[in-house]
Amino acid sequence: MRIQVNGSSVETVPAITIEGLLQQLGYENQMVAVAINASCVPRQTFAEQSLQESDIIEILAPMAGG
């Protein structure tokens, strides 16, 4: 299926979990925060939470801030 990740189109297996997506994209060892369709996804649910066609995903990482 096709979803949006950080503004780019990405092809995944259907009903992929967030954990699965992060593995697919090479983030497995990194700490990130994830929002689906502008809602916050708690980190402890990454393994269960599965995605749907056309979902808009944001993967965020810590950065310097003022």
Partner: protein, 265 residues
Amino acid sequence: MWKVGDQTLSSRLLIGSARYPSPEVLQTSIEASGAEIVTVSLRRESALQNKAQGDSRFWDYLRSHARYLLPNTAGCSSVKEAVLTAQLARDFFETNWIKLEVIGNDETLQPDPFATVEAARILCREGFEVFPYTTEDLIVAEKLVEAGCRIVMPWGSPIGSGQGLRHVEALQSLRAHLPGITLIVDAGIGRPSHAAKALELGFDAVLLNTAVALAKDPPLMASAFKHAVIAGRQAYEAGAMEASSRAHASTPSIGMPFWHQESSL
């Protein structure tokens, strides 16, 4: 020692982590500053390319060394964005602290008082400890307190401008009217004398970033600010003299030898 939220701290300096020439300089600057609270942000990870380089050193260091992280909502300009960013930050950084920044104008980077109060109300209800970036407007500050904030962070002057405290009387009024609230001057501090002045006025702390990060020698400037907030706070506690529009001799004028009396003839 002072309290912010439920934590007890020694240092009255909060420091930002952005705009340093390198992660090493960031690290030595934070150490030199003595700051216990460091602000951070969340941004889109461009994972595939350059993951785990520069920025992960930054994050590894902060995670292990900063006593408290204060995530911000920098760049948000609506209630919805700010609330979502705060929720993500809480989950990620495992803290209910949030520096709430809702910008009302992209050029002046002024806070939007309406959206800030509304977002603060939502976040306080959700259990956040909100550190709202606001102007020196007393009425807006009172609304933030009504919304549940125990901390209010008025700007000194525009973000990154280094102008110091532009509206001193208004800041004094804020301090006088909100005696029980933790007041932190955020934004616009350019020099240690600005930080010292904020503390002398009774503000509880200052939050700054650019003044250290863009100094020619950031760690030395960080140390300068460490001393400045100590100076300002001690002065506040020591009870400064009132300024006067007139001169007053410091050396006593009693016991003057005769030639002094003569010369006044």
